[in-house]
Symmetry: D2
Subunit: 284 residues, 4 copies
């Protein structure tokens, strides 16, 4: 993996942004190995992602950040600058179903997902041995109807103790309270087991079966206060027909969920996703 700095910017669009930023980068001999820009005529915003070879830059990340602040202020930028070799810390929340969790752990273990997984938190015990095989701490926090707030307070503390940058809901199946959503805004990634906005809420495969659809889907999105209405990162579908029972749809859907979540998480880890106006810009 090449050592780069990733400069990600969103700001109101106007003439000269690319010039100004790229001139700044060039001044310090920064070598761009990847750059994507998007100008949205609808909202009048501009989005940009630059990936700069770390070894080419004359200044440190810290100095870059300090020097860039003036430009950022001139252009009213929302921006971030990250070191590609600094692994994001991803806490995974799971429930009974193992497929999304197993898939992420496998990819992480095979170096296909560049991140740290400081711990997994589940509301059941059944996935403990799988997680521990990977030498990842496993915590079980049951969330009953009573004492919910207490459970989530404990969970948030645990996530923060593990210094999480983001949280993945690997089919966690519980509504996340504001307390946690607020602490990790645009950093909580959920996988919903339908092609949103079809089949919001519980039992989407049963609903898909009942409606007689010919494709089942999955949606990776950032969790927000509004259930299943957060910014969509990635979606995909698989073909089904009249021969497929609800259980077959669940089975086929699991593969779609895994793939969609893995792709969405990868975009997030590579700092490719910008959220604007409850939508995502994904800079490839």
């Amino acid at each position: 993996m090449q050592h780069t700095y990733r400069l990600v910017v969103a700001c109101p669009d106007r003439v000269g942004i690319v010039a100004r930023v790229s001139q700044f980068v060039a001044e310090y001999k920064g070598w761009l190995i990847e750059a994507s820009y998007h100008s949205d005529p609808q909202t009048g915003w501009f989005f940009m992602r630059n990936e700069i070879r770390a070894d080419s830059l004359l200044i440190s990340l810290r100095e870059f950040r300090a020097a860039f602040a003036d430009i950022a202020s001139d252009y009213q930028m929302e921006w971030s600058l990250r070191d590609s070799t600094k692994r994001k810390r991803v806490v995974i929340l799971a429930s009974l179903a193992s497929h999304c969790l197993a898939d992420i752990l496998y990819r992480w273990h095979s170096d296909d997902l560049y991140c740290d997984i400081p711990c997994v938190i589940a509301n059941h015990e059944n996935l403990r041995s799988m997680v521990e095989w990977y030498d990842i701490p496993f915590y079980c926090i049951p969330v009953g109807k009573e004492r919910k707030a207490e459970a989530y307070t404990k969970m948030l503390a645990l996530i923060q103790q593990h210094d999480a940058d983001c949280v993945v809901l690997a089919r966690y199946m519980q509504i996340i309270p504001s307390m946690i959503l607020d602490a990790f805004s645009n950093n909580i990634i959920n996988i919903h087991h339908s092609f949103l906005p079809s089949f919001i809420g519980a039992n989407p495969y049963q609903k898909a079966y009942d409606r007689g659809v010919k494709l089942v889907g999955a949606t990776c999105h950032y969790a927000t206060e509004k259930l299943d209405k957060g910014p969509i990162i990635e979606q995909d579908v698989a073909r089904v027909d009249h021969r497929h029972s609800r259980d077959d749809m669940v089975r086929l859907g699991k593969d779609v969920e895994k793939m969609v979540l893995a792709r969405g998480l990868r975009y997030h880890l590579e700092d490719r996703v910008i959220v604007h106006d409850n939508k995502t810009v994904i800079l490839g």
Copy 2:
């Protein structure tokens, strides 16, 4: 195209249906070139499609039909027997948009869709010359806010004069009145420009754009009283991203609509579709 008889059956499931039917066919030396059966554990129904070489049968279609009636009655079958060389007569309703109509006409003209198209009826004049190039009669019946019933009465008369077996709504964009729906139950094929049940009703691409979905879709279904809720025949999707405007989604969606409608219509023309319980069984 091979000359066959297509025997399509739906009935409550029980032991011996295939045996009884195939024995009947074999008795008259019928050679099956295609056969698909589906047993639905959920509803307890059985579905079957047999395609029999016409030249192998010792009896005529008429005699077959008469002789089979007893079996059909024993097993409480809903059934049909059709001659594959008898082209279904498809009346197409269109509005301003040409893509679905042009696609069907082209496929028909290239012998890729085996049917007759006795006429096209539109509520605007703009597609006349395209239709007439194919030597197909074109009728314009404007449907204003007033005198709607009158217009639809005229339309139904025209459809019936042309001896239609089925009606295709090639982006006709108007709600079809019961009078016509009843006359062609399960024989009115609509294309909806979204992946149903997402984005029911008007302006689905705008809604898809606003929601920030990563795939746009189309749905071919039988029109029923309930808007966009009829049995789904076929669906498909195309990938979009943040760079696509609403107009780009419309453009990409048009290709999906054409393909999905063409496939759905083909299944219908080949007597592959059985409607049961507001879903379709499509016997391949």
Copy 3:
């Protein structure tokens, strides 16, 4: 999982096969829950798969087999009759790469693949702990340039001791000798990491990269004497573009390989695959 008997037949086509077979089944009160037939005009052969509820049949599997032998002989059938609850025994061969092996083990462990996995044999040690976590015996048989025959003799003995019904080459990457191919004809399933017949042999991703293709693929096929030329069971592709390095293609391809192998293996385990004329008929 429903307890059924699966009757799979291939024979020269003629009138009355379905009638004769289904009458036989009905005579013993066999309830068909699934049936697919295919008649191939090119070769003049007929293929059939019937799935019969075990609890509906008046006779045992053994008696069924004995009684059916006469029909089979009359029609020169190649046929098999299997109990769906009898798990096939699948020995997996692996090398260094873990993705296909890990995927199969996970699906098996989640009851998504109905089979037994009596052991895994690899030519390296690196996957031992993963396999043993599933309580599956792991054997390492290195295959050097010398003493190849000896190694394969040992391997065949091991496979046979474990009573294998079939063998999966989960990216085993070695050419399988005739000795083993012959012992498990049409029961050795390979996954090739390209869309065959493109890029036969070694390093297909490098070749795909060099050619500048816009899709990479994978092919699941039965291994035969001719390298990468056996009957194809399943294929799929993933989109790539100029931004993808060879390593990216490898990464994206791994997901395609896993999916394609899992689907192909499932068809095989469900007795859906008939090999004829170096092609497969897959009765859905």
Copy 4:
């Protein structure tokens, strides 16, 4: 359609290219509405496409071109600057098959393909009336075994008289002579009816059928001296199975061919394709 200038560049990679170019653009108040950059570590080349609002620029296209020449020379750029409102002139060559031609004409007529089509040249007469309905001149130049050179000389003259920018081989099915290839290097777009490099040459569907593949594909590429070996612009596939005859594959493949050619041609018309090292970079 927005009026823009498209600046497309390929050059050896080094620090500061984006800075230099974007500074140049900004100096003349050019507003970037789209920009994509690609740096290829394998070849050490850099590729860039900038789309600049024409109404924002202080200078004319001509002045821009003159002023930019210095930068281009400094960085050893291969480059082009085009006015988006200047339609490329596309001459289409066709043979008997109509599907690709009909699809392009329809898209052009619906304003979905932004170009002029000064004429269609075919080696048969059968498509004349379809072409003439669109008010496009149709020429028939039969190419027999004898007098081939004469026919192609006439064809090249015709293409040049019509001031073509590029040539589309809409299933033209003849090998194009060097004389024409050289005159339109990287501007002759072919559609091959297979997923290259599978099934090079004649009768790819027959070969696909014989091999028993589970997907059929199509490839849009620039024609070069080496048959079916030119730089690939776009590819796609469609699923087939044992029920599909060779003719079914042809039918399903036609839809893939049309879609792939239309997408490839669109990329070309929008100046998104850069050819380097017999591959394409497609700047989205």
